[in-house]
Amino acid sequence: MAEAILEVRDLHKHYPLTQGILFKKQVGAVKAVDGVDFDLAAGETLGIVGESGCGKSTVAKMLVNLERPTSGSIRYKGDDITKLSPRALKAVRRNIQMVFQDPYTSLNPRMTVGDIIGEPYEIHPEVAPKGDRRRKVQDLLDVVGLNPEYINRYPHQFSGGQRQRIGIARGLALQPEIIVADEPVSALDVSVQAQVVNLLENLQTEFSLSYVFIAHDLSIVRHISDRVGVMYLGRIVEIGTDAQIYDHPTHPYTQALLSAVPVPDPEARAHRERIILTGDVPSPANIPSGCRFRTRCWKAQERCTLEVPLLAVPAVYRLTDSPAKHDSACHFAEEKHVVPTEEDTGNGGEGPGGNGGNGGEGMEANGGAGPKSL
C-alpha cells in the first residue's frame, strides 16, 4: 500500500448519559465509536459502510475535528490532530475537508453561492489574496459543473443535486488532500446520484484527493471505493479491498448485510440466498459482551460471549493466498459467497451456495434463529 496519510488508532467516542438536573451524575455512556482503527493511503478511497447508529458519521466528524474523540489518535502525516494547538489545527483543517449529507441544511440560506464557496478563503486568507477570490470561486463552480455566472444566487434557487455540487466546491476551495464525504448522495434522486458520484471520481483524479466515503448504500460504496470497512455498533468488523469484502466476505455481519441488499435484477430473486437477521441492533449504551454482533449472529457460541474478537486476518486464512485473507473480527470467520453475479443468475440452475459453507450448521446451533433461504 502507498504511504498512509491518515492513521486512525483505537478511536473512541463516548457520550456520557447523565441523570439529575442540577447535580449531574453519569449513569452510563453511549459508545458511538468504540475502538476504530484504519489507515488511509494517499489517493485512495476508503469506503465505510454500516447501518444507522453504527457510528460511521461520528467517525467522520472526528476526522474533521467537529467532535473530539474520547480517546485514541488520528494521525495526519504523523501529527496527531486530536492533540494539536488551535493554531496548528487550523492549518491541518485546510487539508481535511468534509462534504455533508444534506444539501438542504448544509448551505447557509442567507448567503450567496459566492459567499458560501468563498468563505474558506476568508477563514484562511493565506490561501488566496483578496482580489483573486472571486475568480477562484468561479473556477470552482466551473470545476463542479455549475455555471460560474450563478455566483450571486442563493442556495434555494438550486435543486438538491446542484446544492450538493456547491457543497463539494466549498470542500475543494482550500485544495485539501483528504475529503471526508458523509452520505454525500443519499439525499439525491437516483438519476442525480450518478452525476454526483461521477463528479467525485473525476475530482479525485484531477486533484489527487483521498476520500473517506461514508454511506449506507453498499453498491455505491463498492463503485467508488478501493477499500471498504464495515462498521457495526461502533467498531469496524471487517475491512479489505472492495473485491475481498464484496466477493469474499468472512464476517457474518458483512454477509448478512450484503445478502440483504436488493439487487436490481428480478432473475436473481429465485437464486438468491438471503440471510435475514433477527432482532434489532442493540443500543450503543448497552453493548453486548464479547463479540458485539453475537446477539444477532447465527454462528454465535459461548466463546463469542466471553472473548472479544480482534480485527485481524482469521487464523484459517493466514497462510493462504485466498482473497479471504483480510481483516475480520470474528472467531468463526468463514468465507461465504452472498452477492449474486451474472454467472449465477445467467445459468439459471442452482443458487450460489456457501463456497466455504456450513452456514446451515450454525443455524441449527442457534436454535433456528439464523439464515433463512428465500
Binding site: V30, G53, T105, S106, E119, H124, G161, R170, A187
Partner: protein, 332 residues
C-alpha cells in the same frame, strides 16, 4: 443517538417536491425544482424564468408587498409614526390648552371629537397621545429585543451552565405578574417622562425575547452549515454573526413586532391604573382613565383615545402576523 438516519432525507426531498403537505409542499415545487439552470456534463439546459438573485429576505419582501394586511397595517403604522413626530401636521391646537367651560361638550366646528372633562380638545389630545404610545412601544421593544436576543442568543450558542442560570432567571421573571409588578415598582418612581415605564417593560419583557432567541439560535446551530463553517476552522464569532444570527433573526423579529403592540396596550393599562405615564404627559391611557367616570354623559371622551389605541395595537399585531407568514421557511 449521535448518528442520524441517512434515509429520511429521501423523504424530505420527496415531500418537498410532490407531497401536498399543506400549502408549503405545493409551493416548494417552485423553489426545489423551480429552475432548471444546471450546467450539466451534457451541456447547459434552459435557464430559469428570472436571473436575479433572490435572497430569502428579498423573497419575504416580495411576499409582503402583495399582502393587503401588511399594506394596511404598514400604512397605519407609518401614519402613526409621522403624527407622533409632527402632531402639528394635523392638529393645530395645544393639547394642554383647556377651557373648563367647555367640559364634556360634544363635537363643534373646529373640534370634531368634542371636549373632555377638563375642557381639552379630544381630537388634539388623541393626536398628541400617539407620541407617548409610539415612544413607549418602540423603545421598550428595542430594549427588550437587544437585551433579550443577546442574552438568549449567547445562552443558546454556548449552552452549559450559562444557559442553565439564564433559564432559571427567565423562569423567575415569568412568574412575576406584569400588572402587579408595575403597580409595585412604578408607584415608587416619580417622573414625568416615559423612561421609567420603558425601563419597567424592558426589565419584565426581556425574558420572553431571550427565550425565543435562545430557541432559534439552538435550531440554527444544529444546521449542517454551521458544522461546515466549524470544519473550515471558523471562529465562534464568525459562526455566530455570519451563520447563526441571520438565520435566527426571523422569529425574533416576528415576536418583537407583535410585542410592540402589546407594550403599547400595557402602557395604556399602567397609565389607566395611575402608575404609568402621568399628566401633563398626553397619553391615551391617561385619557381613557380620566374619561371612565363620564362614559354615560360624554362617550366621545372614551371612544376616541380607546379607538386609537385599539387600532394601533391591532396594526402592530397584524404586521407581526404578515411578517411571520412572509418569513416562514416552510413556505419557501
Amino acid at each position: 443517538m449521535p448518528e442520524q438516519l441517512p434515509e429520511p432525507l429521501e423523504s424530505f426531498e420527496e415531500g418537498q417536491a410532490i407531497a401536498p403537505t399543506g400549502a408549503g409542499g405545493a409551493s416548494d415545487l417552485a423553489t426545489a425544482e423551480g429552475e432548471t439552470l444546471e450546467k450539466t456534463p451534457g451541456g447547459p439546459l434552459g435557464t430559469g424564468p428570472d436571473k436575479k438573485p433572490r435572497s430569502l429576505w428579498s423573497d419575504a419582501w416580495h411576499d409582503l408587498r402583495r399582502n393587503p394586511i401588511f399594506i394596511i397595517s404598514g400604512l397605519i403604522i407609518v401614519f402613526l409614526v409621522i403624527i407622533s413626530i409632527w402632531p402639528q401636521l394635523i392638529a393645530s391646537g395645544n393639547p394642554l390648552d383647556c377651557d373648563l367651560s367647555k367640559a364634556q361638550e360634544g363635537p363643534q366646528p373646529g373640534h370634531p371629537f368634542g371636549f373632555n372633562g377638563q375642557g381639552c380638545d379630544v381630537y388634539t389630545r388623541t393626536v398628541y397621545g400617539a407620541r407617548a404610545s409610539v415612544q413607549v412601544g418602540v423603545f421598550a421593544t428595542l430594549g427588550v429585543t437587544i437585551l433579550g436576543s443577546i442574552l438568549g442568543g449567547l445562552a443558546g450558542f454556548y449552552g452549559g451552565a450559562w444557559d442553565g442560570v439564564l433559564s432559571r432567571i427567565t423562569d423567575v421573571f415569568f412568574a412575576i405578574p406584569v400588572v402587579l409588578g408595575g403597580l409595585v415598582l412604578l408607584s415608587v418612581v416619580s417622573s414625568n417622562t416615559v423612561w421609567p415605564v420603558i425601563g419597567f417593560m424592558v426589565l419584565l419583557g426581556w425574558p420572553q425575547l431571550s427565550r425565543i432567541a435562545r430557541g432559534s439560535v439552538i435550531t440554527a446551530k444544529q444546521n449542517d452549515y454551521v458544522q461546515a463553517a466549524r470544519a473550515l476552522g471558523a471562529s465562534n464569532n464568525r459562526m455566530l454573526l455570519r451563520h447563526i444570527a441571520p438565520n435566527a433573526l426571523a422569529p425574533v423579529i416576528v415576536v418583537a413586532t407583535i410585542a410592540l403592540g402589546t407594550y403599547i396596550s400595557l402602557e395604556a393599562t399602567l397609565s389607566f391604573l395611575g402608575v404609568g405615564l402621568k399628566p401633563p404627559t398626553v397619553s391615551w391611557g391617561i385619557d381613557i382613565s380620566s374619561a371612565a367616570p363620564y362614559v354615560r354623559n360624554a362617550p366621545q371622551m372614551l371612544l376616541w383615545p380607546s379607538g386609537a389605541l385599539a387600532i394601533t395595537v391591532l396594526a402592530f399585531i397584524m404586521l407581526g402576523d404578515a411578517v411571520r407568514d412572509a418569513l416562514d421557511p416552510k413556505l419557501r
